[in-house]
């Protein structure tokens, strides 16, 4: 399945927004976390600064998110992982409340209560979880609901390759196939479950092969390429919308940054990330667009627009208010 020019331009711009959002966060996240502003003897303080707590960033993993979400409409559901920003952005979650949630502000998606791993955008039907593998069963639920209500909506659930060893993965695949649910399971294979490589954790090299055990199509994509993702996911989404059931897709992708920011990555071979960056997926798509006639002026306009969106979102987040302390005990129940 080939994208239209507009779809290609959309994917390009979304990838730029995601990359800028994530790489800007690398810098913001370090504010207040380094000596001499922290406790004596510490190298880094995870709980300090305007964005405390763990931070899992997705620079390098943009193709999976944009190649998939290019096929989705607002009514389709997406569930993401602990590394969720790229999925949220590609699904259409507005950047301002997304950024504000990451800053813990009252203008955030969850009024500052969820934080970066726990994003809920009801309108754009996006959610995620900090628990590995936890997004798959709820995606089956969204798909079941669509089917029961007679809609052609689909659900997409993203997971890491490490999550394919969770019970929830196998149970969800079986349930989805058994009930012929319109759900697409998309594995982001970035090679690492924190420090543990896929080879060390997984009995087979290709998770897409596991689809056979549940009687559904399984496809592996070996390149970190938005156009390949678009092609393969497009077919799966079309099948799901047509009532032909679930699919499992595994996409090779690249994690440019640590598992979390502050991760020393001693487990990673030296120079690995530099090599990965030489085949950057944004350049790959840009070159294709240039071949198809995108001018330098057009490219600059897109880049400037992406950059301005991200800058505005982080300014909005910084200038927003903290939640009032009275909110601490609110919203446990509706």
């Amino acid at each position: 399945m080939q994208p239209t020019k507009d779809q290609m331009l959309w994917m390009f711009e979304q990838m730029l927004v995601i990359r800028e959002f994530e790489e800007t966060m690398v810098t913001i996240y370090l504010e207040g976390k380094l000596p001499p502003d922290i406790q004596d003897g510490l190298a880094f303080d995870i709980g300090a600064g305007p964005v405390p707590g763990e931070m899992h960033l997705a620079a390098g993993q943009e193709p999976v998110a944009v190649g998939t979400c290019a096929h989705l409409k607002k009514e389709d559901t997406v569930t993401g992982t602990h590394r969720p920003h790229h999925f949220a952005i590609a699904k259409g979650v507005p950047l301002n409340p997304l950024a504000a949630e990451i800053f813990g502000k009252v203008t955030g998606l969850g009024r500052g209560k969820g934080g970066h791993m726990h994003l809920f955008d009801i309108e754009h039907k996006f959610s995620c979880s900090g628990i590995v593998g936890a997004g798959m069963p709820p995606a089956c639920g969204a798909a079941l609901a669509a089917k029961k209500m007679g809609k052609d909506w689909v659900a997409v659930t993203f997971l890491g390759e490490g999550a394919a060893n969770q019970g929830a993965f196998h149970e969800s695949l079986n349930l989805a196939a058994l009930w012929n649910l319109p759900v697409i399971f998309i594995v982001e294979d970035n090679s690492y479950a924190i420090s543990v490589t896929k080879e060390e954790s997984t009995a087979i090299s290709n998770n897409a092969d596991r689809a056979a055990g549940y009687g559904m199509p399984g496809v592996r994509i070996d390149n970190n390429d938005a156009l390949e993702v678009f092609d393969v996911v497009g077919e799966a989404v079309a099948r799901a919308r047509a009532g032909e059931g679930p699919s499992l897709i595994e996409c090779k992708t690249d994690r440019y940054l640590g598992h979390f920011q502050g991760d020393a990555e001693a487990y990673r071979p030296e120079g690995e990330v530099g090599k990965l960056r030489e085949n950057d997926p944004i350049d790959l798509l840009k070159n294709q667009l240039a071949e198809d006639g995108m001018t330098e002026d057009q490219e600059k306009e897109i880049r400037d627009r992406a950059s301005a969106t991200v800058t505005a979102a982080y300014e909005f987040a910084r200038s927003s208010d903290d939640p009032d302390l009275s909110e601490t005990t609110m919203h446990v129940f509706v």
């Binding site: 763990e54 934080g115 970066h116 490490g162 479950a193 924190i194 997984t202 601490t328």
Partner: protein
């Protein structure tokens, strides 16, 4: 650190040293879990073990908790002594059946014929804004389940002795370390948790609370990181003439009721400072034990309980600092008991 006799260790180093010494002593002891080998445990509790003992005895696992925790139960039934880390206590939901229906019950259901020497270790606690799924304590849930011993150290000395005791125990032991006292280079911590730790092997017995500080006006029952907040609060109160006796429970199962009751008999006031959820948990249990003994104890004022007020841990810093009891909350609670 210059003099071995005064050697100080962080809690993380004390735990890994305890495990290493027991692995040296007993070839049946082995370690498995997520990121325990190459990484040395996300919170350093298994640091250096892979280099010393190799991948057959220090095993990284897939993210398959039901499988590897059930595997520990099965291996222990065959006579091995697994130590299993599951990164955050918040993650136990995915494998709870293997714990609360099997690991905890199999000894009883076998009529006491089975031994299950499993140590499950995990990180607990908030204070660094890791939000609702990475900041809980939850030891109360495990203490509620019959058949699990529950260990919650507050400092490096106890951490080592309690770990060795746990590994030698023929029953399942849940061992909870608070992230904010491990002495990590990347997270602020209470430095009082880094203590002198003897190099030789030693045990700290289960079911023996420690009187951290003697006092005469109020008994403050606490554990884990909250011990250090309590010490800070007591210093401020002491300056105002309020004498606080601090009890570090160290283990919840077995629970040292006697030390608590003796102290409250003396002070006539009881405050409990806990980082777990307030309702149906540790603080209620301690209050109930005292209530059951009111025939021999006179309380001057009602019991005060501090805990997370039955809300998920919020991400936003000001909300998190409101939800989790802080030094000032302990101080205020105790002042309110003195009128």
């Amino acid at each position: 650190m210059s003099n071995e006799n005064n050697r100080e260790l962080t809690m993380a180093a004390a735990i890994s040293e305890a495990i290493a010494q027991e692995m040296d002593n007993n070839e049946k002891v082995f370690v498995m879990g997520e990121d325990v080998a190459k990484y040395g445990g996300i919170f350093g509790a298994t640091g250096g073990l892979l280099d010393k003992f190799g991948p057959d005895r220090v095993m990284d696992t897939p993210i398959s908790e039901t499988a590897f925790i059930g595997t520990a139960t099965g291996a222990a039934a065959e006579g091995l002594r697994p130590i299993v880390e599951l990164m955050f206590v918040d993650f136990f939901g995915v494998c709870m059946d293997q714990i609360y229906n099997h690991l905890a019950k199999n000894i009883y259901m076998s009529g006491g014929k089975l031994k299950l020497p499993v140590v499950l270790t995990t990180a607990i606690g908030g204070g660094y804004n890791d939000a609702a799924q990475h900041s809980q304590c939850l030891y109360g849930i495990f203490a509620h389940i019959p058949g699990l011993k529950v260990v919650v150290p507050s400092n490096a000395y106890d951490a080592k002795g309690l770990m060795i005791e746990a590994i030698r125990d023929d029953n399942p032991v849940m061992y909870f370390f608070h992230k904010g006292i491990m002495g990590l280079l990347w997270m602020a911590y209470f430095t009082g948790s880094t203590t002198h730790v003897p190099e030789e092997s030693y045990t700290v017995p289960f079911g023996k609370a420690k009187v951290v500080k003697e006092g005469s006006d109020v008994t403050l029952v606490t554990l884990s990181q909250m011990v250090h907040k309590s010490v800070d609060a007591a210093k401020v109160l002491e300056a105002d003439g309020i004498s606080v006796e601090i009890i570090d429970l160290r283990t919840l199962v077995p629970l040292d009721k006697e030390t608590v009751l003796n102290s409250v008999t003396k002070t006539h006031r009881l405050c409990i400072a806990d980082e777990d959820y307030l309702s149906f948990g540790l603080s209620g249990e301690i209050a109930a034990i005292v209530a059951e003994n009111l025939d021999s104890i006179d309380l001057d004022v009602p019991v005060k309980r501090l805990g997370v007020p039955d809300v998920p841990i919020p991400y936003s810093r000001p909300l998190e600092q409101t939800a989790i009891p802080q030094v000032k909350h302990i101080e205020e609670a105790i002042r309110s008991m003195m009128n």
